[in-house]
Amino acid sequence: MRTRKSARAGQYLALLAYLVFLAFPFLWLISTAFKPPRELGSLHPTWIPKDPTLANFRQAFDEQPLLDAALNSLTAAVGAAVIAVLIATPMAYVMARHRTRLARAATGWVVVSQAFPFVLVIIPLFLVLKNLRLINSVPGLIMVYVVWALPFALWMLVGYVRAVPTELEEAAAVDGAGRLRTLVSITAPLLAPGIVATALFAFISAWNEFFFALVLLKTPEKQTLPVVLTHFIGAEGVADLGPLAAAAFLATLPSLVVFAVIQKRITGGMLAGAVKS
């Protein structure tokens, strides 16, 4: 019995080590965000600021157009999330319910699209969007984000659709409901939680995305938060640590909140997709 007890203790210890490793950088970010410049310059930084201040936050807003950036990020993320689920849900439905060549090709695309190096896609996208005059515009970025969010959205949604019993749809068909009617009034309500989770996931990926935003948005007033955050780091890699930490902390909050809401469903969605396909 003693070995079992010590094994348990070892497990708790290991778990604690994991949590420390995973949490400490974030705690350090928060700590840095509230430190006054004097403490940031000291050679003996402490975990808890001796003299906590909000000055870094004020300075961050003064230095960079954070509000504009947040608004751009919000527009891009909401736009991408809404459009992505609107177009992905019907397609996921077909992929889940019909074993056609088209459905197989779509599944193939979902898998293969994970392997694209973005650089191979971004140059043509840049040229195409330039011809459409959608460079340096948030709508152009939304278009890219929609397609970028589609593979995972389809993956999750296919799993959710499979979980809806076909008998319900057949019953509706027997009652004379057409395809669209069945989809709108029977399947969609049952899918709603899954659709919301998928939309929120698309929101997070778009909110966090950096590479496409960096390439496609040129002027500061059009840029999203991740791109604006990098402006805090100077050309020589020297950064004003306090405002940098403060801005980074603020930029993370929306993703964290949304993630907390859907955390369970993400795990479930991955599971559903993985097990049933």
């Binding site: 350090w28 074993r99 395809r179 950096f210």
Partner: protein, 319 residues
Amino acid sequence: MTSATVRKRSVKRAARGAPGGDGGRGAGVRLVDHGAWFLVLPALIPILVLSVGPLLYGIALAFTDSQSGRTEPTQWIGTLNFQDLLHDTLFWDSFRIGLLWAVGVTVPQFLLALGLALLLSENLRFRWLARSLAIIPWAMPEVVVGIMWRLVYNPDAGILNETIRDLGLGDGRDWLSGLATALPAVIVVGVWAGMPQTTVALLAGLQNTPRELHEAAAMDGAGAWRRFRTVTWPALKPVALAITALNFIWNFNSFALVYVLTNGGPGGRTRLPMLFAYEEAFRYGQFGYAAAMGCVMVAVISVILALHLVGRLRGGEDA
């Protein structure tokens, strides 16, 4: 088949307006019926225009001398870009660094995530809390992850050097600008950032392992390691293979983390292929050449992955 089900079937077909509703059987030449097309098109068009199209366009660009902001028309130049690439030692250095980075991140990421997933599937107290905390890095923007670790690694105000000083292990160092430490330092960040996804995938896989079999093995006196090898691992293996393959690709194509942490420095020691290609395309405007790099990256990664997967699957059959 009862007459009721027959009637139901025929009604269903009628309702769907065309044959092929039943899993495509009897669909003949038609891929899907009209209703399905109507459902698929809204997603299919963006996929074709903004994903498949650009991909083919990108491959085509690799065989041209396309440049940004040039007035002369772009011309086909055959495989000239690839011949140049072959002799571009800077690119191959970058490629080597990319492989080191991808393997260096993927392997520890998998091992650590496996350990964490096994712990989280145990019936420990505070498991719910641990599960929530463990996936926080997943929710963070990569740029913020980079910034965060810059603060940790900061030579003066960073907590890493302060801890080293506290423990009396010396003065610490400038991790991200040291020639020897830069790549290991960014690899640690890569492992940290990718652990949650891997853990969640493995946790999902662990839920597939047959519980009864586990218990039966325990009854027969099989130790923890033996139970893991004979019961858990066979059930987990498909998920493990899939997630390591995906991680390898994602890591090889990673950009934002290293862009923020070191921007490829010092002296190109952390210049991943994506950073290299990005600079080639959007700093120097060499679109054709950068597209060729992209093609080479896809090709080499595909070969490595194919070998890895075939090897692993075969190894599984022998065992």
